[in-house]
């Protein structure tokens, strides 16, 4: 494996890099608009910072391209525990904006949780490819789940609900990819859906009926079927208790989604302003630098989480369409590379990274347009943010590394 032939990279999917550069450029254009019109000192603006961070990001990209696959495969569990340790480090650092996400490295803040995502994907891929698992058994979900849950809980406690949820997303696609049965995935998801529907009587009823149908079709032993069914119902009834254990701001975010007009200056304020920005952009936008929502600061966290609202307002639907198409193409490309890769490890890594990108893109965009609660999750390549930009390019590097373009 180490003796890579010189033409190994000739088959690497370079188009992925081009796509990521296109997205990064669109991001820089918007950041420049914000910086030029709102900051007196361009050197301290988010545009300039992003530009500077492109350097380390490209180093990360190249590192991930050239690092031998077998080394990753060999030392990934060691890395897993190191990263788990590092995740605890921010608790000993000072808080930034009331959270423990950052490790203070002199002038640069650094978010270890960004890199935890990569480690999780590699670890899962190694575990699922090494153990020639009998994925027909529901218990084979156990270890992968534990592997993901531990860092997720640590990050959730930072508190960073968004990243914690993102960390969970590669699990199911990778299990599915490794051959897990659909019914088991249903069993896995059932408790979650039970909890979510518990707050709405009709949904909960429909879900209850749906469970009966699925369990019936699967024909398990009667006792198992009943246990599965009733424990899920019980969990649903327990949900209000769990709800009360959420932090206020988390509750607010969820509530604001249900009824954004309820508190126009609370959590829903961001959603309303973001929707207004996007909607008022129309097909072609108000023009670069002419977004009133953006430049009069109605739009919150516009450099990072709500960068797409800036683009929607200033550059319009046309650019949104381009961005979504590029993301779609990128993700599908990764899935396709995963499908055509020769070894299972590579395939799992690719599908894991595709899930991570998909999760980021979907959660961020859905949040921006008010479809899901405000999560505080950036948009890959486009949002400003050093650690995140770097981890995105590192993921692209991994895709380049393990992916083999077979355009036959």
């Amino acid at each position: 494996m180490f003796a890579v032939s010189g033409n190994r990279f000739s088959k690497s999917p370079f188009t992925i890099i081009i796509a990521s550069m296109v997205l990064t450029s669109i991001g820089l254009i918007s950041l420049l608009s914000i910086s030029v019109h709102q900051s007196s000192d361009i050197l301290r603006s988010s545009f300039f910072k992003q530009l500077v961070f492109l350097g380390p990001s490209l180093i990360g990209l190249l590192t991930m391209i050239f690092i031998p696959k077998y080394l990753i495969h060999k030392y990934i569990f060691t890395m897993y525990f190191i990263v788990l340790g590092v995740l605890f480090l921010p608790y000993f650092s000072r808080t930034i904006a009331g959270t423990y996400r950052w490790i203070d490295l002199g002038p640069v803040g650094f978010q270890p949780s960004e890199f935890a995502k990569l480690i999780i994907v590699f670890s899962l891929a190694k575990y699922l490819s090494d153990h020639n698992l009998e994925m027909k058994n529901f218990l084979s979900f156990f270890f992968p789940t534990i592997m993901v849950i531990i860092p997720a809980v640590v990050i959730l406690k930072q508190p960073d609900l968004g990243t914690a949820l993102i960390l969970l997303t590669p699990l199911l696609p990778m299990l599915y990819w490794a051959g897990a049965r659909s019914y088991h995935i249903f069993l896995f998801l059932a408790p979650l859906l039970s909890v979510l529907t518990a707050f709405h009587a009709l949904s909960f009823s429909i879900w209850g009926v749906l469970m009966i149908v699925i369990i019936f079709l699967e024909r398990p032993k009667l006792i198992f079927g009943l246990v599965i069914y009733f424990s899920n119902l019980f969990l649903g009834l327990l949900a209000p208790v769990l709800w009360n254990s959420l932090k206020d701001y988390q509750q607010n975010r969820i509530l604001a989604l249900i009824n954004p007009e309820l508190d126009p200056l609370g959590a829903a304020y961001q959603i309303i302003q973001s929707q207004t920005a996007i909607g008022s952009g129309g097909v072609f936008g108000k023009g670069w630098g002419a977004g009133t929502q953006t430049h009069l600061k109605f739009l919150p966290v516009q450099e990072s989480d709500f960068i797409l609202s800036v683009i929607g307002e200033e550059l319009g639907f046309v650019f949104i369409l381009v961005i979504i198409l590029v993301f779609t193409w990128m993700i599908l490309k990764m899935v396709k590379l995963g499908y055509s890769s020769k070894d299972r490890f590579s395939g799992l890594v690719l599908i894991g990274i595709a899930s991570l990108f998909m999760a980021h893109v979907f959660v961020n965009i859905a949040m921006t347009v008010g479809m899901i609660p405000v999560k505080g999750l950036p948009l890959p390549f486009i949002s400003s943010g050093g650690s995140f930009l770097m981890s995105c390019f590192m993921m692209v590097g991994i895709v380049m590394n393990v992916g083999v373009d077979s355009t036959e």
Binding site: S129, G279, S280, I320, I324, S341, D343, S346, F362
Partner: protein
């Protein structure tokens, strides 16, 4: 270990592809909906989002004296406001403001509660901030979401006169005030409204009209710039009012009265214009502006001498001997009195079972009407008043406007008391009073009570032989005539002659009112009004005439003793100042 084969069914691959495309289509359709279907709605929303209507307070009209000197001006102060709905942590913000300005955060919180109207209406937190305080706040404005400041014109008194009682003061419109105003839209909470004096009387002229400014604002509510194409309305400043007041005379009178409780009013009897208007004790008019300290306010309010009270229009006093003029006029007009007929004054007079005294205990000797007035002999008037009935006397009082408002352009004027028969019957019972009471009334004692402003009107009518102008402060295009007491020229001339002798006569009680200016004639009447509050009140009412100029003076010193001794000299200083060029008058004032 990397040898595990990649076993993935085509079906699963397509399912994953399908899920990705499905999710992306959901997102795309949402954008399509927002940006194309609902474009108009959000465009409008973005438009109103950035524009806020801000009211601009109109400066009140100025108040000028007769020479155009500014008595009441405006100066810009800053008020700090906050939009309640945009302040996430009020306590924290109040504390930050407190740190920036050095003002107790409890006061800020109290103000917030006081002015709060609605979640998105700017609520006043503080007023009268200095430029320095605003600068410090501006530096920290990013940490104070929803907090803003604007200019606010406040009253300012550049003149050295006090004039507190006629200028009046403003009050902030608070909730109870707003509730009583009828139309709540004219005044916003925190606006200033004329609450006393001319500020109240001429409120509608002085007030002006609020303007509206449409400003582009950012999400923190910070105002960026005016939006063009909107109907920006500039505030219309209130109209200035020009008074008849002569600052020079006003200042002189305030100075002369500063050690007394009492009043001094100078007026032009022909026009009715008030030239000086002093009620003492008074207060500096600016205690009602700016950061009035509670202590200052309490001190003024709890002062036993009641400086807030305008004694000229709301003080009720017995007129004392000045009312002898009414008795004399009535008798002369009805031809019931021979002015030359003498009465012997021995210092006391027996009427029924009561003994009345003259102020001069040794007696005036033989007294005719002229001497009776000039030396204010009580005994003489006890004799002659008996020819008069109570109703005749009352009619004469009413003819001169006593018992009624003078209609001067100030609010809250009182009417005083002229005891009619009905009044006396009600008060004492039909048989409870007798002609003996009339003896008292003839001397301006007993149940009769007048306001000093009524005395001003009274002396003005005498000085002009019934042609005095209606009393007023604000210059008018057309002088209005007041009440018209009707007496024959003969009566007017005689009474004027007697009043002149009060001042010019060696024995005259008002002799110290004469500044001895060539060509100036002075007439007047002193009064020493007994009252239950201690020493008698000292009155002097008088007029001075020179060429075509006329000036009347009404001076009252509470518990001042004899009118001739204490009130008349104050009148003299007014005459010298008015009828002499300034330099000469200052010299005249120095000579005793």
């Amino acid at each position: 270990m990397l040898k595990a084969e990649n076993l993935i069914s085509k079906q699963r691959y397509y399912i994953i592809i399908g899920i990705v495309i499905f999710l992306m289509l959901i997102l795309l359709s949402r954008f399509f909906y927002l940006q194309i279907f609902r474009y108009e709605k959000y465009k409008h929303k973005a438009e109103i989002n950035r524009i806020r209507a801000v009211t601009v307070n109109a400066p009140r009209g100025l108040i000028l004296d007769r020479n155009g000197n500014i008595l009441v001006d405006n100066y810009p102060t800053y008020i700090l406001t906050a939009i309640p709905g945009e302040m996430e942590q009020k306590e924290k913000i109040f504390n930050s403001i407190s740190q920036c300005t050095g003002i107790d955060s409890l006061i800020i919180a109290e103000n917030f509660k006081k002015y709060y109207r609605a979640k998105f209406v700017p609520t006043r937190l503080m007023k009268d901030l200095t430029f320095h305080q605003i600068s410090v706040l501006e530096e920290n404005i990013l940490d104070l979401p929803g907090v803003n400041y604007k200019q606010f014109p406040e009253r300012y008194y550049p003149s050295s006169i006090n004039g507190s009682h006629f200028l009046g003061y403003l009050k902030e419109v608070d909730k109870p005030v707003q509730g009583n105003l009828g139309n709540p839209n004219v005044y916003e909470l925190g606006d200033l409204i004329g609450w006393s004096g001319l500020e109240k009387f001429y409120e509608s002229q002085l007030k002006g009209t609020r303007g509206v400014k449409y400003l582009e604002v950012d999400a923190l509510g910070r105002e960026m710039e005016e939006v063009k194409g909107y109907n920006n309305q500039r505030p219309e400043p209130g109209a200035d009012i020009k008074l008849m007041i002569d600052s020079d005379l006003q200042l002189l009178m305030e100075e002369k009265m500063k050690d007394y409780r009492g009043i001094a009013v100078l007026s032009n009897p022909v026009t009715g214009g008030i030239l000086a208007y002093v009620s003492k004790p008074d207060y500096p008019p600016n205690i009602f502006t700016g950061k009035m300290l509670k202590d200052d306010w309490n001190e003024v309010r709890n002062d036993p001498h009641r400086p807030l009270m305008d004694r000229i229009i709301t003080g009720l006093y017995p007129p004392g001997s000045t009312f002898k003029i009414i008795t004399a006029l009535a008798l002369l007009e009805e031809n019931l009195l021979d002015p030359s007929k003498e009465v012997e004054c021995t210092g006391s007079y027996q009427f029924g079972d009561r003994t009345f005294h003259c102020w001069n205990e040794t007696g005036h000797g033989s007294v005719n009407l002229q001497v009776g007035i000039a030396q204010s002999c009580n005994i003489y008037f006890y004799h002659i008043v008996q020819k008069l009935s109570l109703s005749q006397w009352v009619d004469n009082c009413f003819d001169f406007g006593f018992g009624q408002e003078t209609g001067i352009d100030l609010p809250y004027e009182k009417t005083g008391v002229i005891p009619t028969e009905k009044y006396m019957n009600r008060k004492y019972g039909k048989w409870g009073w007798s002609r003996g009471n009339l003896l008292n009334l003839a001397l301006g004692q007993g149940d009769v009570l007048v306001t000093p402003i009524q005395m001003v009107q009274f002396i003005n009518q005498i000085a002009t032989h019934g042609n005095a102008g209606r009393l007023h402060f604000v210059q008018e295009d057309k002088e209005e005539k007041g009440i018209r007491p009707q007496f024959s020229d003969n009566t007017w001339n005689k009474i004027e002659k007697y009043l002149l002798s009060t001042v010019s006569d060696n024995q005259g009680t008002g002799r110290s009112a004469d500044p001895k200016i060539k060509g100036l004639i002075i007439g007047g009447k002193t009064g020493t009004a007994e009252n239950p509050h201690g020493d008698p009140h000292a009155w002097f009412i008088g007029f001075g005439k020179k060429d075509n100029q006329m000036l009347t003076t009404v001076i009252l010193i509470e518990n001042g003793g004899h009118g001739g001794e204490i009130a008349a000299p104050i009148a003299r200083s007014a005459y010298s100042r008015y009828f002499l060029p300034i330099k000469q008058s200052q010299m005249a004032l120095k000579t005793p």
